[in-house]
């Protein structure tokens, strides 16, 4: 897993900041350690704001809004797909944070708490709406013969042609459309993992799943996204 993904929540205390152990460089995501450092610094910076928020300081809420609204909005918008829905969710999240700040005990990171509020609110909203664009995954997943070999051969390596065939803007749109077709929980897992850089463990806590279930969902979602790209390029998803 990511270098920082193997960290446990207990290791993420502010006190541990200066004595942070060096993580082994086994990750396929090279900036994971840097992300962890940034995250820990943010936690440290949050402490004062949280205390002020608990005391009902309105300026503290605005400071927290300025710090987290862009990231939380991205998560909500990606899950919901509609600006108005994302606005409503973010509004509720920050108001809830203000009202319930006193009940925040610091057992979880403050940012985790905010993300969790956002994801839960967004998933609740998407479940209640009828606007879901999700499709059956089966058509875009790899297929195999009875003996376990790929059913369509040869499997084409289109990894180098993707950037040549599509302009960046087109590719972004293509990916956005494909993401919108994922099941909401899978989409949330992809957004939290690939766009927010969260660990499987953190995602599991947010989505109320086991770590193993998160891995399964991430893998299946990536297979689906791969299949969508393959089909767009004129190849078989299988």
């Amino acid at each position: 897993m990511l270098a920082y993904r193997s960290m446990t929540d207990q290791n993420c205390s502010v006190e541990g900041l200066s004595a942070m152990p060096q993580m082994p460089a086994v990750s396929i995501f090279p900036s994971a350690t840097a992300r962890l450092n940034r995250k820990r610094k943010a936690e440290f910076d949050d402490t004062d704001l949280i205390e002020r928020l608990k005391a009902g300081d309105e300026q503290a809420l605005e400071a927290i809004f300025n710090r987290y609204s862009a990231k939380l909005y991205n998560v909500a918008q990606r899950i919901l797909g509609e600006v108005a829905d994302a606005e409503e969710v973010i509004q509720d999240v920050f108001w809830t944070a203000f009202r319930k700040a006193k009940s925040f005990r610091g057992t979880a990171q403050f940012s985790t708490w905010l993300y969790r509020l956002t994801v839960n609110a967004a998933l609740g909203k998407v479940r209640r709406s009828k606007k879901n664009k999700e499709v059956e995954y089966e058509d875009y997943l790899p297929k195999f013969q009875q003996d376990g070999h790929h059913s369509v051969r040869p499997v084409v390596d289109w990894s180098d042609t993707l950037d040549e065939k599509y302009a960046e803007r087109e590719l972004q749109q293509l990916l956005k459309d494909a993401l919108d077709q994922l099941k909401p929980v899978d989409k949330s897992a992809i957004v939290l993992s690939d766009m927010e850089g969260m660990s499987d463990k953190e995602i599991a806590v947010m989505l109320g799943l086991t770590v193993s279930a998160v891995k399964t969902r991430l893998h299946r979602a990536r297979l689906f996204l791969r299949g969508k790209l393959a089909v767009h390029l004129g190849h078989s998803a299988a």
Binding site: S69, N74, W95, G148, V155
Partner: protein, 94 residues
């Protein structure tokens, strides 16, 4: 096709389907050393799985490159106005 399958089966216990199931663990470095060895041994003789792995990695890397949705200025103002209003109200109520 048949000879290749026979060679594949002879050299490794893993099928392409099993290899596909292991990709996530392989890329995240969570496979046990023996499974990782089997995985790599299969890749050495199966160009289909090599190509599949390349395209899987590509899909994952382009997904990570999706630009974040920026919060529109109007939305930002709307939310801040709402929060200020609510805080004022709650201050008056208490």
């Amino acid at each position: 096709m048949t000879p290749r399958n026979a060679v594949t089966k002879a050299l490794t216990d893993k099928t392409c389907k099993e290899i596909t199931d292991l990709i996530f663990g392989y890329l995240n470095d969570t496979l046990s050393p023996s499974v990782r060895r089997d995985f790599k041994r299969h890749l050495r003789i199966c160009s289909d799985c090599v190509n599949f792995l390349h395209t899987y990695k590509k899909a994952a890397s382009v997904t990570r490159s999706i630009r974040p949705e920026e919060i529109p200025l109007k939305v930002r103002h709307n939310i801040l106005d709402f929060l200020r209003g609510q805080m004022r109200k709650s201050g008056t109520d208490s």
